[in-house]
Amino acid sequence: MFAYIIRRVAATIPVMAIVALLVFSLLYIAPGDPATIIAGDQASPADIERIRMSLGLDRPFLVRFGSWLWDVVHGDLGSSIFTNLPVTHMIAQRIEPTLSLMLITLVISLTFAIPLGVVAAWKQGSWIDRFAMLLSTAGFSVPVFVIGYVLAYVFGLTLEWVPVQGYTPISEGVVPWFENLILPSIALGLIYMALIARITRATMLEVLSQDYVRTARAKGVGQRGILFIHALKNAAVPIITIIGIGFAALIGGAVVTESVFAIPGLGRLTVDAILRRDYPVIQGVVLMFSFVYVLVNLGVDLLYTLFDPRIRY
């Protein structure tokens, strides 16, 4: 098992190298460079060329890639072309909001989705089942920003229960931190809720029809015991798979949510950097994303062993 973990972690390195090369090449070929944006609208072509040279953007591809790679291996992700702040600093500033958003989204989704799926499976075929599934499918069908706007309007502007935008670090109080995150989390979480509810229901249905559940029932174990102790534990594996897969979708949806609710997260950082061609930031963030994604996959695979002792690596 230990060897498996080592092998998987070692395998992340070639993955990240491939990703780094892909991204770097893409950025290199894409037209537009930060020099034009720095120079501003009224600058002359000669000015722009001077700025390009001072940024080292006129060097050949391999030289630029090599020099960046060398720095990365030494732990230096470079500095933003515009702000001159170290890329690691800019990423670090935005990790807390992004992680907070994902954490609360996950908690809210799981809290509502799993019971929904369990109840739907328990009362399979009834109107509760159909209604729950319709609800979850509907949650899957509306664009995130539409939900976001409606939530912000109703709960933020009209009822004034929570602020409409911004982020408060947890160090300034848990309640303000939560208040800023609850609307974006719901907007982002509806998709997750839909996926998890459906998967939970489907797995529970399969498990509930198994022999050992019938035996447990025959032995007189209460309904709640069956549902939660036996069935849910066995349903955990596919649920965790979905959480892992949904993680990538979450990143995409998070960009939209961060824009609508003005949360200073990594998604918004990436998009801004791309539009400005802030190469060090783009490369640093994508590299970090791929690293985290691979770790999440590894974590998911390891969690399997916890819930299903048959799975061994």
Partner: protein, 528 residues
């Protein structure tokens, strides 16, 4: 967890959330401002973005500063002396000027700053071309000796158009003018808090305690900059609807540029003020490539001029509010001294599509593709681009609509290659009205062919007009030169102004002292 405790805590949380938000009551010493764009750097000399200039004028100062009539007054300088033919200027710094790190401002800092600025600015380049020497007889005196007269020196040093002649410490001013500065130390009324800066989200300015404002009343860049806030927070909200909601909710105090469609909503709100932000407004721009067909043919350019409807463009850009736009058959800013409509007859009156089609045929236009580059991530250029696509189709031209982003537009427009080889035929932008009041800051007016701005128009008549303006001894002569420039620019159709438009600004009623200016003025503003 026991069910009872779980329910209990849920109820508690529910109760806290349900209580209406009593107040986003922030201290009256903190101002929260939503700027027009993200602040990604602070170098207003190397980079000419408007938002950078707006922030920089809080941190740094200028030797002279213009007032709302564009008349320069002493700011960092105590005064000046100049000889009869404007070739020998001496400035003396006023007392009490210190940098944010405690050091005193000296003449060496001033010389280094002016030297850096001279490389990038059009007026500065003219000074540099005729510079004999800088002299610093003592710590507070600067002498500039020229070999050609330059009567507009005070305006050059005090203007608010980017690049602004900001005075920085010598070590920072020694940065290459084509590289962004890395340190933000100035002598202005606010310090920049680099530690709390979250680019793309928040920029914090703090009051500089040791700043001594001048005695006169403040007016744009002149006079005493009295700061009534300990802290100014620039909150960057990328989504316009969210910014509107935040302003209505009291989460921010002042929104620089609300989009015009949301303004009726803000006007209805009893807690908010809405007014025109910058009376000098903006001029939209339809820029053609004079190097390649079809727009290398002046008849084709004239054909477009005949059919172009500035009303269409302006309504697309700013909406239905007629207070916000005007047709502008001129290359200069309406409402300013040099404004003239002479030569702009083709833009006035009913639009002539048939005449345009005939003129195109006469010019020999044969269905060549027109490569229209549209930056869809910027509202103004996207609106202009969409109207252009429609206009060109109406007069029978073959449009290739290239939807891309602002950064890429910047690269493409710099290419002199043929459109089929990655070049361009048309792109859009706009110029701040403050940059179009006269030829000095107006890079887009130039028609020097290869050396001109993107599009590379060539017209001897326009260049002569610009030279005449620089040599003009008084306002009457300047006006004559301006008329000549206008007529020649329309004759050649160097580019087509798509109209004049204004933008609103909106702030909470508890904020007072907001003035109309080409940049947001923070001194003299207070909050109750």
């Amino acid at each position: 967890m026991k069910r009872r405790t779980f329910l209990g805590s849920t109820a508690a949380i529910g109760a806290t959330l349900a209580a209406p938000r009593i107040s986003f009551a922030q201290s009256s010493r903190v101002l929260r401002f939503v700027p027009q764009a993200n602040l990604s750097s602070l170098d207003a000399v190397a980079g000419t973005q408007y938002v950078v200039r707006n922030a920089a004028v809080m941190i740094w100062e200028t030797l002279y500063g213009v007032d709302s009539n564009f008349v320069p007054h002493p700011q960092m300088a105590e005064g000046h002396t100049v000889n009869a033919d404007f070739t020998d200027w001496t400035f003396k710094l006023r007392d009490g000027l210190t940098w944010h790190d405690g050091e005193k401002v000296t003449s060496k800092d001033v010389v280094a700053s002016i030297s850096r600025w001279m490389v990038r600015d059009t007026m500065g380049q003219k000074i540099k071309a005729s510079l004999d020497a800088f002299e610093t007889p003592d710590d507070k005196t600067i002498r500039i000796r020229l070999n050609k007269p330059f009567p507009k020196m005070l305006f050059a040093l005090g203007k608010s158009n980017a690049p602004v002649c900001l005075i920085m410490p010598e070590r920072i001013a020694k940065t290459d003018p084509f590289q962004l500065i890395k340190e933000y130390v100035g002598s202005g009324p606010m310090k920049f808090n680099t530690a709390e800066w979250v680019p793309g989200s928040k920029a914090i300015f703090e009051k500089f305690g040791a700043y001594k404002p001048r005695a006169e009343k403040a007016d744009w860049l002149s006079g005493g900059k009295v700061m009534n806030f300990d802290r100014i927070e620039w909150v960057i909200i990328p989504d316009a609807a969210t910014a509107g909601a935040a302003l209505q909710n009291g989460e921010v105090d002042w929104w620089e540029n609300p989009i015009s469609d949301l303004v009726p909503l803000l006007k209805k709100n009893a807690k908010l003020n809405v007014d025109i932000g910058d009376p000098l407004g903006n001029l939209g721009s339809f820029r053609m490539n004079h190097l390649h067909p079809p727009f290398n043919n002046p008849l084709v350019r004239k054909a477009v001029l005949m059919a172009l409807s500035q009303a269409d463009y302006m309504q697309a850009v700013v909406g239905d509010d007629t207070n916000l736009w005007k047709t502008c058959p001129s290359f200069f800013t309406p409402g300013t001294a040099l404004y003239t409509e002479e030569g702009g007859e083709l833009l006035k009156g009913k639009r002539d599509y048939e005449g345009a089609k005939k003129l195109l045929k006469e010019a020999g236009y044969n269905g060549e593709k027109v490569r229209l580059i549209v930056a869809t991530d910027v509202g103004i250029t996207k609106a202009e681009g969409d109207v252009t696509a429609d206009l060109l189709q109406k007069i029978g031209m073959n449009v290739d609509y290239v939807a891309t982003d602002w950064g890429t537009t910047g690269t493409i427009r710099a290419k002199k290659d043929a459109p089929s080889a990655g070049g361009w035929n048309i792109f859009h932008t706009w110029h701040a009205g403050a940059d179009c009041i006269n030829p000095a800051p107006y890079t887009a007016l130039d028609a020097g062919g290869d050396k001109a701005w993107f599009g590379w128009p060539k017209s001897e008549a326009v260049q002569k007009g610009i030279d005449d303006w620089y040599a003009a001894p008084d306002l009457a002569a300047e006006k004559k030169a301006a008329v000549a420039i206008n007529k020649a620019s329309f004759e050649n159709v160097t580019y087509i102004p798509t109209g004049f438009f204004l933008q609103y600004t909106s702030w909470n009623k508890n904020v007072s002292g907001v003035v109309k200016a080409p940049f947001p003025v923070f001194w003299g503003v207070s909050k109750s």
